[in-house]
Subunit: 362 residues, 2 copies
């Protein structure tokens, strides 16, 4: 078992990573006998894990209700959020309830925001079932739903009481989703940790083959890196923005293509390559390093260019809605080397367009 603490004063919380955690009610601490819990999951995951988690909790004397959401990024909306509130109020659940998010990033982000705003804040536990959510969205307290005009535009910084990562879940994850998670994994190497990037170059095949030891180490290292960043900058006034490498470009792809048609990790993979080319055009990232990044992404089963149907110009209006835009000025996360990155403002728009074009050339 791997265990990390996200250090945020009285809001600190543990991340537990192991195979088989769903078999033990103690995994879901601080929930205890007599507590009221709302399990939130989706239609794809419910047949796989809902009854297992539900019965483990019920046998421990926990009162469990459930909401099953439709599966997909397009359901990460205010109206689906309202269905969670309705389920909570129909029972009813009091201010002492606990929401458990059993699922990937969509379930986790939406349930987290439901917990942040139901009765102005109730306890919640993240139980991420995808690699993407295990290494990224379940750690750090960013919760949100989408708006038709922008991804994650409505949300809160709200920390879970605990994060429970049962690595066994990855056995049922579609290969495309595993690859999508690896995009965020590779991101940590590029922005923060050159040694981890090398480790990934040496172990990407073991990860794709679902080697539990490799996966557990990989998830722990990503959570550690993210936990350090979040502890230093919970509300993204500074270095936390580095975690958004590739996201300003990638969100444009997701928004233009319709949420869910490109998986988040796929869009971020292409976006990271675009950011690398922008950095190269600024003279701060070599073509050799771009090739290392692209090669690892390709081995992980990820795209290294954007959708054919999107012109470079079509990215900009979406990019200007990025949450990092300040006073109408784009701020981009750009690598300065493999394992190092910075937030850069004032990059000329024509340079951004040119680096998006760079990704089209094979």
């Amino acid at each position: 078992m791997e265990r990390i603490t996200v250090t945020l004063g009285e809001r600190s919380y543990p991340i537990t990573i192991a195979a088989g955690l769903f078999n033990d009610p103690a995994s879901f601490m601080p929930v205890k006998a007599g507590d009221q819990v709302m399990l939130v999951t989706n239609q794809t995951l419910a047949p796989l894990y809902l009854n297992k988690v539900r019965s483990v909790l019920e046998q421990a004397g926990v009162r469990v209700d459930q909401v099953i959401l439709p599966d997909g990024e397009q359901y990460k909306s205010l109206s689906v959020l309202n269905e969670v509130f309705s389920a909570l109020l129909e029972k009813p659940h009091g201010r002492d309830t606990t929401l458990i998010a059993l699922g990937g990033g969509v379930v986790g982000d939406l349930t987290g925001f439901a917990a942040a705003s139901y009765q102005r804040g109730v306890r919640f536990i993240q139980v991420p079932t995808t690699l993407l959510s295990q290494v990224d969205s379940s750690v750090g307290g960013k919760t949100a739903v989408n708006h038709p005009l922008g991804k994650n535009m409505i949300g809160a910084f709200y920390q879970p009481a605990s994060v429970v990562v049962d690595v066994d879940c990855l056995r049922t994850l579609p290969a495309r989703e595993l690859s999508s998670g690896l995009a965020e994994v590779i991101k940590y190497g590029i922005i923060l940790d050159a040694d981890f990037f090398v480790w990934l170059e040496n172990n990407i095949d073991a990860l794709l083959a679902l080697d539990i030891t490799a996966l557990s180490y990989c998830i722990r290292r990503c959570c550690e890196l993210k936990a350090e960043v979040v502890a230093a900058d919970e509300h993204e006034h500074g270095m936390r923005a580095l975690l958004n490498l590739g996201h300003t470009y990638g969100h444009a792809i997701e928004a233009a293509m319709g949420y869910g048609n490109w998986l988040h990790g796929e869009a971020i993979a292409a976006g990271m390559v675009m950011a690398c080319y922008t950095a190269h055009r600024l003279g701060q990232f070599s073509l050799q390093d771009i090739e290392r990044v692209k090669s690892l992404l390709v081995r992980a089963g990820l795209p290294v260019s954007g959708p054919q149907e999107m012109t470079a110009e079509s990215y900009l209006p979406h990019m200007m809605r990025d949450k990092k835009v300040l006073a109408g000025e784009l701020r981009l996360v750009l690598p300065t080397a493999v394992g190092q990155s910075e937030v850069r403002k004032g990059v000329p728009h024509d340079m951004v367009l040119a680096s998006i074009e760079d990704c089209r050339v094979p």
Copy 2:
């Protein structure tokens, strides 16, 4: 000019109370030249104050957009909230924008929650235009929208950067709304300050006659009392619950009658009398004190019993959805004397029903 500080560490903020504040852009500090602002108001207030505030800000070099909401408690909803997000995203407004809530409790609560959740939190300023919002909802950081199954069930604790109370607004306030605000004013006397209750007994007619000196003192004293409570217990783990005197009963009236048919203060006035009778049945509040409370409420133009069409039994299902309910147990705020109150759990439901019945008898 009266000025109070709500003391909450780095989230401390000033409340400024005076006539004529809308004529001076400095009233809206920390907003300054070059800033982007979204003014949120409603259809009733827009013709009275929107152009005035807008032009004062624009003359000071502030970039101002506006959203005009329909007027009424029934519009304090997730779907109207979403209209504010749409307006912000259409411009678009960045993370450095400021929302200004120009209106009563509905505008303030909804705009505050929009500010709390737009891009996970942007700055906002409360500009309350009703007595109710000046003494209550604009102070303390409670923001929320309603759900069809319960009032204020979706929201956040989120503090404004500043509260601007222009007492001149009360000149355009309908008499019934002024009375509604006086219900919350009288509440402060009952729960916390016997001297202020006596002051109200001596000055209620001056308040109803819109004497600016009396109103300014009254608003300042209420804000002071609330600021002390909020500073001691921001997230309502303890004494802040006292501010809910009458609200558990009153919310049942609002929910059963349909939001907006009984004004909030009217429902709370009847609810406070019910709480007094419950306290009396528990042997902790005299009939003489009940008469003092009822007499002051009647002089303020407020009801002292609930709607004829509601049976006592019909209150309970609504009361059990109160945010103070813990582990299925009702917790009531009850006076122990004029100027003193406590949170009490374990009050038998038949005693609650009987005290609701007590209010029917003239």
